[in-house]
C-alpha cells in the first residue's frame, strides 16, 4: 500500500471546518468559513515549546504552594495538592485519593513529559512508532482538561464550608498556579499539529 500525503498532491485542509482546498489557496481565507488556510498550523513547534516551558516553570509553585487553607476554630491549616491526596489515603479512601492523584499529579506530569516527547520526536525523530505518538497525542488532548478537578473541588468547598469564625476554607496561590498550568498545557496541545508526527516518517522513509 502506498501512502500519499494530501500535501504532496497539493491538497490542504482548513484547520477549523476541514474543507479541502488547493495548496494555491494557502494564506487566503477558507471559502467556507473564512479562516486563514495553512498546510500545517503556522509556527506550531515554536508555539508549543514556549507554552510548554511556561507550564513547566509554573508547575513548580503549583506543587509547592498550598492550594487551599482550612480555618477551623481559629486554626489555619494550608495544604498543597499532594497533602490533599495524602489526606484521602490516610482516611482510607483509596479510590477518591487515586482519582485526585491521577487528575492533579499524574495527568499534568504525564502531559508535560508527553508533549516534550512529541516535540523532540517531530524535531529529531524515531523514538516511537508514529501511531503510538498519535494515540499519545489524542490521550494528552483528551485527558488534559480533567486536571481542572482540584480547582472545582476548591470552588465547591469554599462556598460550602463558610461558617464565619467556626470554619472557613479559602483558596490559596498554589491553586492559581495550578489552574494556569492546566490552561497553558491545554493551549500547548491545541497549538501542536499532529500531522507533523507523520510528516517526519514521510520525509525519512518515503513511500512504504
Amino acid at each position: 500500500m502506498t501512502t500519499v500525503r494530501a500535501l504532496d498532491r497539493g491538497i490542504i485542509l482548513c484547520h477549523v471546518c476541514h474543507l479541502q482546498t488547493s495548496i494555491h489557496d494557502e494564506n487566503t481565507p477558507c471559502p467556507r468559513c473564512k479562516t486563514r488556510l495553512h498546510a500545517r498550523k503556522p509556527q506550531s513547534i515554536t508555539k508549543t515549546w514556549l507554552l510548554l516551558i511556561t507550564a513547566a516553570i509554573l508547575y513548580i509553585p503549583a506543587n509547592l504552594l498550598p492550594i487551599m487553607t482550612v480555618n477551623y476554630l481559629g486554626m489555619a491549616t494550608p495544604s498543597t495538592i499532594m497533602e490533599g491526596v495524602i489526606t484521602f489515603i490516610n482516611l482510607g479512601d483509596w479510590f477518591v485519593g487515586g482519582v485526585v492523584f491521577t487528575a492533579s499529579i499524574l495527568v499534568p506530569s504525564m502531559k508535560l513529559i508527553g508533549m516534550f516527547i512529541l516535540l523532540i520526536y517531530v524535531q529529531y525523530g524515531r523514538l516511537l512508532p508514529p501511531k503510538t505518538c498519535t494515540i499519545m497525542f489524542r490521550l494528552i488532548e483528551w485527558i488534559g482538561r480533567w486536571s481542572m478537578l482540584d480547582i472545582f473541588v476548591i470552588a465547591i468547598m469554599v462556598a460550602l464550608v463558610n461558617f464565619g469564625n467556626l470554619s472557613t476554607i479559602e483558596a490559596d496561590w498554589g491553586a492559581l498556579a495550578f489552574g494556569s498550568v492546566v490552561i497553558i498545557t491545554m493551549f500547548a496541545a491545541m497549538s501542536f499539529d499532529p500531522r507533523l508526527i507523520w510528516d517526519h516518517i514521510e520525509s525519512n522513509e518515503g513511500n512504504k
Binding site: H18, K131, V153
Partner: protein, 222 residues
C-alpha cells in the same frame, strides 16, 4: 436543501471531491471506497473523518432546547447543603463562583465561572443558532461565525469535570459533617447527560457541510 454546492471554489481540481484527507495524519484516501459507510475512519491513524446521521438537525435541536431549559436550575439551585453544629450552609454552582470571588481569589473565580458556567452556556447558544439557521435555511454567514466560536470553545466547557468535583467534595466532607443533596445536583446531572448526548449527535463535519449548503439570498442576514 439540495442547492448548488457553492463551497468548492473553481480553482480546486475536480477530483478533490473524490479524495479525502485525514486532518490528523494527512493521509490521502479515495472517498468513494469509504463513503458508503455511515462512519469514516482514517485507514492509517484511525481518527474519525466523518459521520452521517439521519435527522441530525431536528434531533440536535430538541437536545439543545432541553439542555437550555435545564441550565438555569442546574446553575442556581442548591447542589449540596451542609450542617455543622446546627449551622447550615448551601451551595449552588453559582455560589461556588461567588465564594471564590469573596475569598479574594478573583482570577480563579473567573476560571470557574468560564469553564463551569459561561462557556457551556455560550456553546449551547451557538449550537442553537447554528441549528436554527440550518433548519430555516438562512443567516449563513452569522451561523458560520457562531459555529467557529463553538468549535473554539469546545474543549473549554467542563461540566463533566465539575460533576466529578462535586463527587470528590461529597467524599471529602462526608466524614466531618451532615451532607444533603439538593435539586440542583439532579438538574446538573441531567444537563450533563443531555449535553454529552448532543455532542455525540451533532457531528461537526456534517454540520459544516449543511452550513455550506445554506442558500442565503439576503446578504443582510448578519
Amino acid at each position: 436543501m439540495h442547492s448548488d454546492d457553492n463551497t468548492q471554489p473553481n480553482k480546486v481540481p475536480k477530483q478533490i471531491e473524490k479524495l479525502i484527507a485525514c486532518p490528523e495524519c494527512d493521509l490521502l484516501m479515495v472517498a468513494d471506497k469509504l463513503s458508503r459507510k455511515q462512519q469514516i475512519n482514517c485507514k492509517r491513524c484511525g481518527s474519525l473523518l466523518n459521520i452521517y446521521r439521519n435527522n441530525m438537525v431536528t434531533y440536535s435541536l430538541s437536545l439543545v432546547l432541553t439542555a437550555l431549559i435545564l441550565f438555569i436550575p442546574a446553575s442556581f439551585l442548591t447542589i449540596l447543603r451542609i450542617d455543622i453544629l446546627g449551622h447550615t450552609q448551601e451551595a449552588s454552582v453559582w455560589d461556588s463562583v461567588l465564594g471564590l470571588y469573596h475569598s479574594g481569589m478573583a482570577t480563579i473565580s473567573v476560571l470557574v465561572l468560564m469553564c463551569g458556567l459561561a462557556i457551556p452556556l455560550v456553546k449551547l447558544l451557538c449550537q442553537l443558532y447554528v441549528l436554527l439557521a440550518i433548519y430555516f435555511n438562512k443567516a449563513k454567514h452569522s451561523a458560520i461565525f457562531y459555529f467557529k466560536i463553538y468549535q473554539e470553545l469546545k474543549e473549554w466547557g467542563m461540566l463533566e469535570i465539575y460533576l466529578l468535583g462535586i463527587l470528590v467534595s461529597i467524599v471529602k466532607l462526608h466524614g466531618m459533617a451532615e451532607l444533603h443533596i439538593g435539586m440542583g445536583l439532579a438538574c446538573f446531572i441531567m444537563l450533563l447527560f443531555v449535553q454529552v448526548w448532543l455532542e455525540v449527535i451533532m457531528s461537526p463535519l456534517q454540520t459544516w457541510t449543511l452550513l455550506g449548503k445554506i442558500n442565503d439570498h439576503s446578504k443582510s442576514a448578519r
